[in-house]
Symmetry: D4
Subunit: 146 residues, 8 copies
């Protein structure tokens, strides 16, 4: 039995690589997928494929339609969703991905720093599990196989 | 035929009252519901009902469970969702409400200032309509009856 | 017991008025809703509400988002869908409305002239009933109460 | 991870072969399925299997029931739908396939020439992404693996 | 609180009238709907509305499409389904209505004579309650209000 | 706007009457429904309607089919579920009703004494809100209207 | 791509073996599953596993619960359903399996002799395709791969 | 064709090992998954991963969120659910797992001693099959392949 895990959220550090390393070290049967983590590519993908748009509004709309396409394809394949919220950005699409996953009955783990306990409280309450660190998220994943 | 509209989002100004006024003036058959708009009551509702909690983490969890209960009851009754994002707060529960509504196939309108076009692009792309002002949202509502 | 009927399709003649007249004459408990039947208003609604768009592509996208919002609101309220295809236009949004209605398990009647039997064959096969005239559609509606 | 892509739409040119070539060249893990692309066989399949029918109406109904059976089997297996609308035909079953796919939450790409922007506007607005060329559709597919 | 009850099954005696009488006598808040109980009208409705068909096969298909339309409209409104199987006919559409109702999570009661225990065993096992008489079905309905 | 509340759980004291009294005093627009609260009638309903059964196993099966019918009818009408677990009984059907309600996305409140915190922990975690007293459950209900 | 086909219906001749032979001869990638085709074993399975029951009613209920369990497991795995109705029996569980499959959106083929056109008309109208012979059903299956 | 079976229920004896042994002996293609069967680990998993909690209430909530995460992941993968209720514990989470499985349309077998016939009657009535022993459950599983 194999599980596909969608790694939503922050794209400005290497938390995904870290988690994947740890999972490999423990030889757990998880496959990971994620959104585009190259921020510039993600912002420009609309114009990269469809050509110049008349303004930032339309550039953003074109990019988001392709990002949403990608997310929807991968999220539907996923058995589990893990989302990491970082300190700095608004990350509304992370909140969107988590909420969508929960509505699709995908078991979901949120990773967030203590500073975000309050603003994330309603979302945390809806997710299955909320943890502080990547290591704890891994422990929850690994618990499936004990 | 009557429609129930859930007004998600910002609770720090009177945009809901403004919209309701405008709808009354046009005599349109909409009933409006919304989250708790008293910020302190919303933050304290867990302790108000369940008593003191051991720390802010648990206070927030208690409050959010009751806020989510309320939202879920009202969202399921709603035919339409309108969400206003303001400039200042992270409003992840607004993003959560919008995403949940879209997953429930509730027709959804987002209202947001120009400054939020970029961070909200993926969510806007998933909503039915995104507008800049409360008046425009009203025009979209009114269009149903033309 | 009351039934709401969504009247999809052609907006270039008065078939809706004709059907509604006939229903009134028979005193049947149906309420009718429909898309925007003013063609110009339907094409311009995006710019009418959101202001000028940079080109026809964006004007069309803005209009369609609001037309789709309206359709979605009314289709979800509907117990039954009737769609009339006329001889002249491509009417892909009529095909879209019918298919969406069928996917939502809304009992559906198609009205189409003989000339369209062939190009509409797959859609007709999926709808509950296909008829040639408005009067026949009315007979099917009335049969519910016999 | 493998993805199945249903290629709906125009059957009068070789756009499917072209797309499949390009995907092979890039070694992307997609499997493609499609409707019957032999137009005559598609029109005659009812009589080919069930024998002569009393008139074209019944011939078309017999054929469409078997075409719809095939489409339904393959569409349910598909992870992604791409639909190409050409300039010449009414292609209402293409519009039907796209709408059905969207109702089934299949991520969907529409390919259409500029001349069809206006008549397809509501359908484009509901699909995830609309592009002008087969190459652009391929770029969107490939983006899933970046 | 009112409940709508769909009365599926045998149309060759007056069991529906009998049940409705008994419900009125007890002043219970149920509204009853049912299929066309005039057998000839049910068999001829296709030709009555659509005109002569080339053979019995097509006459039956035309009639059944309109009967299925009616059933689907009324079944979707129903809160409860009661189906009576009689001794004499094959009544496959009764079995179809019951199975469809169960798949739609409509609470379902089957009424059948002892002689049908064996051939109906799988269907009885899936329904909520199976009884021998109309009076017992009424007792089950009435139990909701105790 | 009116809400229907299903009151699941313990039938050996008058907690339902108490809650209904309190709601009336506050003039809140809730209608309450519940399982059969007469324990003997609930145990005997199968034999009361269907006649003697060959042993307790069959008596219980007959009763439970009718109790489940009633619950299913009322639960589907309910907007909200409140379940009270008491100290003494196993109440597996209460656990069943709560789990079913949660699976149907009915917003759910559990009332349980402190002594049951541990054995009910997984169920409490899935419900929206868990409280200790009927008064607290009422406060949660009333919060919807603030 | 492999497809699983559930073969519902008549168990008193060897139509399943015949179909499976033909499929093998054409080297088509279908796997077939079916109900218990040993009539006695199917009737006795309840008592075979659970021991003697107090009467035929209970024997039938025990058997049907295990037959339904088997059908449900295999039907959920199936991509396609083919059901053959024979001349002689009432076969209400065949009608049940077909209706359940249709409600689960499983593409469905009915095979029936001409003598059953009339009594099966509503069910035929709901299935995707109705044919007269096993060979025709095979042709429909094979059409998926053309 | 392989089937995944979730083994819910009692964790204080070795019934799972016994069942798995018997299945291996018969060379049946079932894969088994189950909840955490180490009772202490299950009770402590919240604190083991998230650290000390302020009281037993919070310790239990933390543990249950991770246990529910595990159950949800595995239950969604399962084709079949078997639940064993033992004599001694309240096992409300077993009742919860069974009810959730039934709501998810997972074919379900309950194993329970005679002493539990009465308190489990509503749940038994909703499950597909109820048996007394592990061997009988195995016979029901094996029947799928006859």
């Amino acid at each position: 039995m194999e599980f596909i895990v969608y790694l939503a959220g922050q794209i400005h550090d290497d938390w995904r690589d870290k988690l994947i390393e740890l999972v490999k070290a423990r030889e757990l049967p998880f496959t990971f997928v994620s959104p585009q983590t190259n921020h510039d590519r993600s912002d420009n993908i609309g114009e990269d494929i469809l050509g110049n748009q008349p303004s930032n509004l339309y550039k953003d709309d074109a990019a988001s339609s392709i990002n949403n396409f990608r997310t929807e394809v991968l999220l539907q394949k996923a058995d589990i969703v893990i989302a990491l919220f970082g300190d700095q950005y608004r990350q509304w699409n992370t909140a969107m991905d988590v909420s969508t996953a929960i509505s699709m009955n995908k078991p979901t783990i949120i990773i967030r720093p203590e500073s975000l306990i309050h603003p994330l409280k309603e979302l945390s309450n809806k997710a299955n599990v909320t943890v502080d660190t990547v290591e704890q998220a891994l422990d929850v994943l690994a618990y499936i196989f004990e």
